[in-house]
Symmetry: C2
Subunit: 346 residues, 2 copies
DNA sequence: TTGAAAGCGGTACCAG
DNA sequence: CTGGTACCGCTTTCAA
């Protein structure tokens, strides 16, 4: 049973295709009788208007393109879920591409989809792109009339809607929390130091130290590769040996967990004499031992927010909505890799 | 700078649209001179043929619909990545939907996309659907001419291409491995016992016991809810107390890890006097302590295989390719939650 | 109340 | 070598 078209229905009842179209759209122009029989038949035959014909006609596809650096990352999977939620609730589909942190793949993807496949993009900038600071492809697609909503890894170089976490404040607050629980030598481990996002967090760290009257020690500000655990270990181990640290703030879950492991191996007790806080609130945090205290970025909420912003812009093409950047508050999820005030009082 | 169409180009050079179309497709019918100028201009203006117009004309979209029960699950994320890989390599896009393990969402999704949005589906059956054994929606979409490739959670009730792990053998081999390392009281913990997939694994377990001459003990065959850790704990703890177990095979990573934790809490040493093996080879396994020995299902490979099967079928619509089921070999990834032969010999 | 026809953006056949 | 035209499936305006 092949898919049925308006034409088939028209032939069946020996009426014109316009009659059928109107009947299916419940137009007042068509008699109740005709409408009834046509609708009934259409339902029986599971008629569905052809997507491409509609998109062509309406010049809109009701689909969102989402470009994510890495789907195996729990944070992005969460964002994806959020986007999916509100997209679906609004009758939008999602075309997903993975940039794999590659500039070229990102450019290709934008081009591939900027041919009427999608109405707008939701994306987080690939690491490579961020390093190269090459944002023309974004500007071009916006110029061509395809709106973009960036999330998490954004750039102020591109004028578009954005959804970010309060990264600056988040780290500052984290420093404060650590200080409050008795930590003074707080290292900062970043996996994305050169990216704007990484810089924000770094600045937050500095601000946090300043607020708390702690000194900046360049030695304990580390820049590591997410996947190069070996090197990471080499770099960080000496600090433990020298007893130079009593806490670590890491910008990723993996590097936070790694720090915990190294600390434990070096004989530290977590959280008794060493604290760790990591960004992103994934499964690892809930399963590590001890469970990791994290800065939750509310990925799902970020996704939902981004989708809503994009859809709003798409649906109200006429009225110019001013570009906006929404900030999603992060939360400190206290688990067992940090001390609590209560413990302190003991 | 709005998107440019063939018409615009035709107007620009005062030629017909068919000339432009042919020039852009490098037809032999068009003079080199005309082709050159038209192609140059098209490139300059970043002309891209409209996706919906093409799809409408060609009656194919070069996009694949993928329906996944849960994107926060690492296994599915891996499969997704695999599909993305080969889809992209073949010029296909991907529309993704999450069924959230819900029958209704699954049905809706299939219907939403079966309107010319996609050329074919890759999907894993939602848990609810598997329990209800309601597979009509799959049959309908196939009947309408949209091919489906199922992976992991499949059903023999639906005639379509499939990609599965060698679940039966996998568990049997796992039992063997445990026996070889000295385990005799091997529990089987399933999170999807009623699903066909779960049954396969269960049968593999029974077969494994039989092969090894071990007795079946109904008491240590457990059925748990993935997310109901509390209940799980209640059920399983008594066995540890009674010293009834020396190994667990769990059909999910989470439940395997949970078993490890409970065992440890009850004073067992892993792997010295207790072994655990879990299905799915995610991040948790590599970060648990001890690191979990797993049965890797090669999610990415499954995704790639599924995509290739679907694309092959789509591209050779004329020749009838017989339906096939491909089996992806699982591998036992030995980490530290099981003993090795070497240790045994000491 | 119904139908004819144009148009969305292309491709491809046929004519010149 | 170039142009006219039908068609993919649907909506919508205008005419009947």
């Amino acid at each position: 049973m092949k898919k049925i078209t308006i034409k088939d229905i028209a032939a069946k009842f020996d009426v014109s295709i316009s009659t059928v179209s109107k009947a299916l759209n419940d137009s007042y122009e068509i008699s109740e009788k005709t409408k009834a029989k046509i609708q009934k038949y259409a339902k029986k035959k599971k008629y569905k208007p052809n997507f491409n014909a509609l998109s062509l006609k309406n010049r809109r596809t009701k689909t969102i393109g989402i470009v994510i650096p890495n789907m195996l990352n729990y944070f992005y999977a969460q964002v994806f879920k959020g986007v999916e939620n509100t997209a679906n609730a609004n009758g939008y589909k999602i075309i997903t591409c993975i940039s794999n942190e590659s500039y070229h793949k990102e450019v290709e993807t934008l081009e591939m989809l900027s041919n009427g496949s999608i109405d707008g993009f939701i994306l987080s900038i690939a690491k490579e792109t961020g390093l190269m600071k090459n944002y023309e492809h974004f500007e071009n697609t916006i110029e061509e009339g395809t709106p973009i909503v960036m999330f998490d890894r954004v750039t102020k170089k591109v004028a578009c809607d954005k959804v970010v976490a309060d990264d600056f404040e988040a780290v500052a607050k984290t420093v404060k929390h650590l200080k409050n629980t008795g930590c003074n030598k707080i290292a900062f481990v970043s996996t994305l130091k050169e990216l704007p996002l990484g810089k924000q967090r770094y600045k937050g760290y500095l601000q946090g130290l300043e607020n708390e009257g702690l000194e900046v020690d360049k030695d304990i500000i580390l820049n590591v590769q997410e996947n190069d655990y070996k090197k990471y270990e080499e770099i960080i181990t000496p600090f433990f040996k020298k007893n130079k640290l009593d806490a670590v703030i890491a910008t990723s879950e993996q590097s936070a967990i790694a720090a915990m492991k190294i600390a434990q191996r070096e004989g530290y007790k977590i959280p008794e004499n060493f604290s760790v806080i990591g960004f992103a609130n994934g499964i690892l945090s809930r399963h590590s031992s001890p469970k990791l205290t994290t800065v939750s970025q509310h990925g799902e909420l970020m996704g939902e927010t981004a989708a809503q912003m994009l859809i709003d812009r798409l649906e109200k093409k006429d009225q110019e909505i001013p570009l906006a950047t929404k900030v999603i508050q992060t939360d400190l999820v206290e688990r067992n890799s940090t001390k609590t005030f209560l413990e302190l009082k003991k």
